[in-house]
């Protein structure tokens, strides 16, 4: 019944079948190439790790470190100054607040300073080429309670060695 038509064989091996295969092939190959050509993006994770590391070295057991004024992030947190300051891969902004007022004199900024505005922009409209940011608010005590806002950003893509 099924093959009653004289031209039954043509239904299986028609030019249209090859056209359909070609379309499937092109679609899948293009999809795979686009997927694997995309970078494995770890910038957001890296920014998050950076802010966590800063919080960890500023506060220990709820106590904020002494001598905040002379605080050196590279020595205290064991960060590489050359990479953070000169490679244009990272941005760090640490702000201290007491009783809701910012202690401007304690503010520390490192890396690509212009990324602060890009981080604000990223929150509203995510752009592929802009850095990925991480913002953390932590609390620490000395004789007063400090609120510390840590904003970090990473735009490290990585590259092929050759």
């Amino acid at each position: 019944m099924m093959f009653r038509d004289k031209r039954g064989g043509e239904r299986y091996l028609s030019p249209w079948m090859f056209v359909v295969w070609a379309l499937i092939l092109v679609g899948i190959v293009a999809g795979v190439i686009i997927f694997y050509a995309a970078q494995i993006d770890v910038r957001a994770d890296e920014a998050d790790i950076l802010s966590t590391r800063i919080a960890d070295c500023l506060i220990e057991n709820g106590k904020i470190m002494e001598n905040l004024g002379s605080f050196d992030i590279f020595e205290t947190c064991n960060f590489n100054e050359e990479i953070i300051e000169n490679e244009e891969l990272f941005f760090i902004d640490i702000r201290f607040f007491v009783d809701g007022k910012e202690k401007e004199e304690l503010r520390k900024r490192y890396g690509v300073l212009g990324w602060e505005s890009l981080c604000a922009f990223q929150e509203e409209d995510e752009q592929e080429n802009f850095p990925r940011c991480s913002e953390k608010t932590v609390y620490g005590f000395t004789d007063k309670e400090f609120k510390i806002k840590i904003l970090t950003a990473s735009n490290q893509i990585g590259k092929e060695s050759i």
Binding site: E10, L13, Y36, E46, R53, F79, N80, E160, I162
Partner: protein, 126 residues
């Protein structure tokens, strides 16, 4: 069986064989693309750099890199699989492809990273 029936049957068989070949080729292509050398080089270099940066000072990390040895062997690559540049804070992974490098931001002392080639393990002292 009449001639018409034989024709239909043979075209059906050819159709099925062509289908099997077509989808096998597609499957192999997708599977190979997913385990590509370039992808593995990128994944491992970024993973190791993030591990270094995430670890607290004094931590010792051990990473199983047997998969990297297998891939390098498949590609007949005999050079160094993992290189650390302590001056530039850079880790590079090469498995016979183009290699991939990534910066870590933590200061590491020279010799902090070693490879146990016998057990195919990467040891990192942060």
């Amino acid at each position: 069986m009449n001639k018409k029936g034989v024709d239909i049957l043979s075209s059906q068989v050819i159709f099925i064989i062509l289908n099997v070949i077509f989808f096998s080729v597609l499957l192999i292509f997708v599977a190979k693309a997913g385990t590509g050398v370039g992808v593995k080089e990128e994944i491992y270099s970024k993973q190791i750099a993030l591990m270094i940066d995430q670890a607290k000072q004094g931590t010792e990390l051990t990473v199983d890199i047997s998969e990297l040895y297998e891939i390098a062997e498949k590609n007949e690559y005999t050079g160094r699989i993992i290189n650390i540049d302590y001056q530039k804070n850079k880790i590079s992974v090469n498995l016979g492809g183009n290699g991939y490098e990534y910066h870590y931001f933590t200061n590491l002392k020279s010799g902090s990273v070693s490879i146990d080639e016998q057990n195919k393990l990467l040891r990192i002292k942060v």
